[in-house]
């Protein structure tokens, strides 16, 4: 499986088609850096001034907000090569686990896959899993996102 830096060729990606995705399907792995700017902007967006202060600390500083892991499980961020989510889908559920705190400046490898697809009350759902690893390929966490597929 190839590896790619985040953001490459995203705008030209075709839309993923619900009937074409399959449970167990793995997508292209990519690497993302948890930059100081990202931590600061996340802190601003979610009204967490502690993160804004943490963003000013040296690289390697432990970040005590586990919700940062979610940023590396968002399908629109991590599906970098294989296809993009159709517009208008809605988040139904999300589960995240973090095995250790993230660190400022850390590079995080993301491996997205389809953990499940199902229909409920006339709606179609995809469970998109993203496993997070550090540069030594040690697991850091897992984010499972259940999306109501846009019609």
């Amino acid at each position: 499986m190839s590896d790619t830096k985040s953001g490459e060729a995203k705008s030209e990606l075709p839309e993923l088609v619900f009937d074409s995705i399959s449970v167990g399907q793995k997508f292209t792995e990519s690497t993302h850096t948890l930059t100081a700017e990202m931590v600061r902007d996340y802190g601003i967006a979610v009204h967490n001034p502690e993160l804004e202060r943490a963003a000013q600390q040296p690289a390697g500083t432990v970040l005590n907000d586990p919700s940062l892991a979610i940023l590396f499980g968002i399908p629109r961020r991590v599906l970098v090569r294989d296809g993009r989510m159709p517009p208008g889908g809605v988040l139904a559920r999300q589960d995240f686990e973090l095995y250790r705190p993230l660190r400022l400046g850390e590079e995080i490898r993301t491996l997205p896959s389809i953990a499940d697809k199902y229909e409920k009350r006339g709606r179609r759902y995809a469970q998109i899993r993203c496993d997070l690893f550090d540069q030594d390929r040690q697991p850091i966490g897992r984010v499972d996102t259940h999306v109501v597929w846009a019609r």
């Binding site: 967006a45 979610v46 907000d65 968002i74 517009p87 973090l98």
Partner: protein, 133 residues
């Protein structure tokens, strides 16, 4: 203990889109959003995850950490909504951790976020354990 309610504005939604890379037009394009059942843009549900996590961190203190958070997003967050998160320790006792092994230091919390009308936006459960050394 409770953190102050947070009012989410379109500028916050736009900022979250930039940092998350999620520019789904339902969040950032008012014209597109008019064509959806919501009729206007809605915030990323995961903003609730961040607010609940912060509430949990404030509640559990520095000696403990959030190991897992499971949330169902049951209502939209609209620009101007004032959100309050709530966390409550459950009497359930031990909960298996991610590896399936019981950890006697783990506790479960029920968690939720409500808007200014006390409508639930997100609800779920968190697993809290001892902080790593």
């Amino acid at each position: 203990m409770s953190i102050e309610p947070v009012t989410i504005l379109q500028s916050d939604i736009d900022a979250y889109a930039r940092v998350s890379g999620d520019f789904n037009p339902i969040h950032v394009d008012p014209e597109f959003a008019k064509t959806t059942p919501y009729g206007s843009t809605i915030a990323h549900g995961t903003i609730s995850s961040a607010l609940i996590t912060r509430q949990l961190m404030d509640t559990i203190g520095p000696g403990r950490r959030v190991k897992r958070l499971s949330l169902r997003f049951v209502g939209p967050i609209r620009s101007g909504d004032r959100l309050q998160s709530r966390v409550e320790l459950t009497p359930a006792g031990l909960t298996p951790d991610a590896t399936g092994a019981a950890d006697s230091d783990d506790q479960t919390y029920t968690v939720s976020t409500c808007n200014q009308d006390d409508k639930t936006i997100a609800t779920g459960e968190a697993l809290v354990g001892k902080a790593l050394p």
